[in-house]
């Protein structure tokens, strides 16, 4: 029920954002709307492209939502994703030529370990010295970006490559196979689907509620035998592992090699998607698709109008965040009040 409301809000916000922007460039709104639809979902290829953009967003957002429920605002996914991709690259290169059945799981695990360790760093700083998790995660992001740049100029640099800082391409066995569909959707998208199902169970689990309790009243959670340390460390490890896994997917499923732009802003967008999806797995999937459709749809808009640049997508994404943040806050209050009233009436009836 709630997720439906959220989805409605997301779509309305999306349409409004694009319409406002369109009006400002002087193009026809219907032309833009049709262009956006074509670009995002109009052809099988475009729809698959949208899904493939949405896949890592879902993964990162699911991880971020776990940390959000524990009361930590997780802005470190960007860095965790990068470190996951770095560790996966290092592992796969060290491994050399091995069959895909070995290379794929090892790459995935390396990505998760990289991301998980990187975010546990913030969690540990929070626990030990009460360093604000936002601050430490932003610094960790910064560090990850520079570590990546450094490694791409030194140890991981493509020996055969030119001046561009990038790694050697992964061996064919280490690449995630494509699904037999038009567009670049890889097999690991099915893994993400599985993770969504697990997240759905977790969302309603007792453990998740205890994490909520910790997020609001830590002493009540520790009285249930769950220490703050275990919650902070496990939730930050899980959210980091999710981002790291997304890093491996971008590496082995999309880009095929490590390069400075490997994260493509997915870490930050994932946070946005988690907030838009209000921590609910289904909400997150819908929000991720909506968010991704702004990128793919913008290409369609550019093609349809010829005057509106594709960067309209990025602007719309920012506008959307603002609009939905307001909607979410207002909706939350109303839902609570209305529910109280409805139940009250029933109780006395």
């Amino acid at each position: 029920m709630r997720t439906v409301v959220i989805a409605a809000c997301v779509s309305v916000g999306l349409v409004i954002a694009i319409a406002v922007l369109a009006a400002s460039t002087g193009s026809d709104v219907p032309v833009i709307a049709v262009g956006w639809w074509r670009g995002a979902f109009g052809t099988p290829y475009n729809a698959v492209q949208t899904l493939s953009f949405a896949t890592p967003l879902v993964l990162v957002a699911l991880g971020v939502s776990v940390a959000l429920r524990a009361g930590m605002v997780m802005v470190g996914a960007e860095g965790q994703l990068i470190v996951g991709a770095i560790l996966a690259t290092v592992t796969l290169q060290a491994l050399g030529p091995v069959p895909g059945l070995v290379a794929l799981p090892l790459g995935a695990v390396a990505g998760m370990i990289g991301g998980g360790l990187w975010s546990t760093l913030s969690g540990a700083l929070l626990l030990r010295w009460r360093v604000n998790e936002i601050l430490s995660a932003l610094l960790a992001n910064y560090l990850a970006v520079h570590l990546l740049a450094y490694l791409l100029r030194t140890g991981l640099r493509d020996p055969a490559g030119a001046a561009t800082p990038q790694s050697a391409p992964l061996l064919a066995e280490a690449l995630i196979p494509r699904l037999p569909v038009p567009g670049r959707l890889h097999v690991a998208a099915l893994v993400v689907l599985g993770i969504v199902l697990i997240a759905l169970w977790w969302h309603h689990s007792r453990i998740a509620f205890i994490v909520d309790v910790h997020g609001q009243r830590p002493w009540l959670a520790s009285r249930l035998g769950v220490s703050p340390a275990s919650i902070v460390l496990s939730t930050s490890a899980v959210s980091g592992a999710a981002a790291g896994l997304a890093g491996w997917m971008q590496l082995a499923g999309v880009d095929g090699r490590l390069h400075p732009g490997i994260s493509a802003g997915i870490g930050f967008s994932g946070l946005v998607v988690a907030v838009l999806g209000r921590n609910h797995p289904v909400g997150i999937v819908m929000a991720a698709i909506a968010f991704a459709s702004l990128t793919t749809g913008a290409n369609g808009v550019q093609i349809a109008t010829g005057t509106v640049p594709a960067s309209i997508g990025a602007v719309a994404q920012a506008l959307l965040l603002l609009a939905v943040a307001v909607v979410v806050v207002v909706a939350r209050r109303n839902v609570a009040a209305r529910r109280a009233q409805r139940k009250d009436d029933r109780a006395l009836a």
Binding site: R206, W219, L220, R223, A340
Partner: protein, 491 residues
């Protein structure tokens, strides 16, 4: 009676969903008069103050200010018209100091910090209270927060003061001081509305009384001409049961022990080398003027706060009712979620790891029945229950199922006469079942009536301790004021 009211409610009605919170209420606040508003939990007292302060709009009826009908458009409007409010739940922003909280409500474009500090100092002096102006509100005790709100209201130039249960967290010393100042303020022409559950307090300070019962005025009259029984009958429709004699309990082994504990908690005063022991079946009462380390002591005993020195023997499953009730609840979630919190890990509340919300709802409904939490609806967010009902939910959850140790900080805060007696009976009952109870309260009569032994805290230390049988009001008073009490101290 001859002066005309500054502000009055005229036949005001207010309905929340199916609850008729106010039903044709008339209330007149006159300059120079302290007006006490009495009534059970949920009678509509807070709602009446909120209507006067412009926080709730009446469905019917209206407000008359200086003889003219007015519409209060929100809090800013009522502040401008001279209505000051010290609300029951507190309205200070936790992260800001008192000075900043005052600045926040300034209606002029230029808010100068130094002016605000001056104004607050002057207001606090006028009210005879000492305030800590530069500590974030969340770090202040309940008493300091409420006094701070009072000073802010005065600094805003209030002609009408609405005090919603300002004394429920204060000790007798502070209450005495506060009352003296309230009388002075009244004499200077301020109209005061004062909500309390304690009749003795009312007799000390109030001129006229209005009793609300289920949203209706059930009695209005001068305090000196109305006796306690009449008031109680108007509040509850019956007389409260008499307090029972203290039964003799068998005392077991020491279950809760603090040895030489030094701890820095949220209060300004840390705990300094405090040792206490509570045996199973025993109630240890802790007295003291608010802010002398009680909250820190309670948190350490409950295992919420780790002391910097000394050792603590407690149990993980200690029942704890914190001083601020919302600290023990999940305000935005359905109340059943708060109700189930102590028993959550029991197998009944999950299936295949999934939280069984229905089982939680059934458990909560049963708890609501036993502790008379109203409305009987576990789906309502805890924050929307009235303060007294939140307290009943919290105390009920914690005392349910005979805990080994119970740390209760102000367990009857904000409860009406009947609910207070019910909670005290529960506390006695728990002790009979073998629970070691640490009872921290600013209500001397409560501690005296329940505890087997008493400890007085002053400035973070144990100033005195004695058996309840040796209770002596002067001795307690001296200990609470930090004066030497025993013969040994005189030598």
């Amino acid at each position: 009676m001859t002066t005309s009211p500054i502000v009055s409610l005229r036949a005001v009605s207010k309905r929340f969903a199916t609850v008729q919170a106010l039903d044709g209420v008339d209330l007149a606040l006159r300059p120079g008069e302290v007006h006490v508003l009495l009534g059970e939990n949920g009678a509509g007292k807070s709602t009446a103050t909120k209507v006067l302060a412009g926080l709730e709009a009446p469905d019917d009826g209206g407000i008359v200010l200086d003889g003219d009908p007015v519409v209060m458009r929100g809090r800013a409007d009522s502040i401008r018209r001279g209505v000051g409010l010290v609300s029951q739940s507190g309205s200070l922003i936790g992260g800001l100091t008192l000075v900043e909280n005052l600045l926040l409500t300034h209606t002029s474009w230029f808010a100068r910090r130094s002016t605000a500090v001056d104004m607050l100092h002057r207001a606090a002096d006028a009210a005879g209270i000492t305030l800590d102006l530069d500590t974030p509100a969340h770090a202040l005790g309940v008493a300091q927060r409420q006094l701070g709100e009072l000073a802010i209201a005065l600094a805003q130039g209030a002609r009408v003061l609405l005090l919603d249960e300002p004394t429920s967290a204060l000790g007798p010393h502070e209450i005495g001081g506060l009352f003296a100042r309230l009388r002075q303020l009244a004499e200077s022409g301020v109209a005061i509305l004062f909500i309390t559950h304690r009749l003795s307090e009312m007799r000390q300070v109030a001129d006229v009384a209005t009793v609300l019962s289920h949203g209706k005025v059930s009695l209005h009259g001068s305090v000196s001409e109305t006796d306690d029984d009449t008031l109680l009958r108007a509040m509850t429709g019956e007389l409260p049961p008499r307090a029972v004699e203290r039964p003799h309990r068998t005392v077991g082994p020491v279950l809760l022990r603090l040895a030489e504990v030094t701890a820095a908690g949220p209060e300004r005063v840390p705990l300094r080398s405090v040792s206490i022991e509570v045996r199973g079946g025993e109630i240890l009462g802790v007295l003291g003027v608010a802010g002398n380390g009680q909250r820190t002591l309670a948190e350490v005993a409950a295992g919420v706060l780790t002391p910097s020195l000394g050792s603590v023997q407690t149990s993980r499953d200690v029942a704890y009712v914190p001083e601020t009730r919302s600290d023990g609840l999940l305000p935005d979630m359905p109340a059943k979620r708060s109700a189930v919190l102590r028993r959550l890990t029991e197998p009944a509340f999950a299936r295949l790891g999934v939280l069984d919300d229905r089982a939680a709802g059934r458990f909560a409904a049963e708890l609501f029945d036993r502790y008379d939490v109203r409305p009987r609806d576990p789906e309502v967010p805890a924050a929307l229950l009235s303060g007294g009902n939140q307290q009943k939910l919290l105390v009920g959850r914690e005392l349910d199922g005979a805990p080994r140790i119970a740390v209760l900080h102000g367990p009857t805060q904000g409860l009406d006469v009947r609910a207070t007696e019910a909670v005290r009976t529960e506390i006695r009952h728990a002790a009979e079942e073998g629970t070691a109870v640490l009872l921290v309260s600013s209500d001397i009569d409560e501690v005296r009536g329940l505890a087997d032994r008493l400890v007085v805290l002053f400035d973070g230390r144990v100033a005195d301790q004695f058996d309840a049988a040796d209770f002596d009001a002067t001795r307690v008073g001296r200990a609470m004021a930090g004066l030497p009490t025993t013969a040994a101290d005189h030598q």
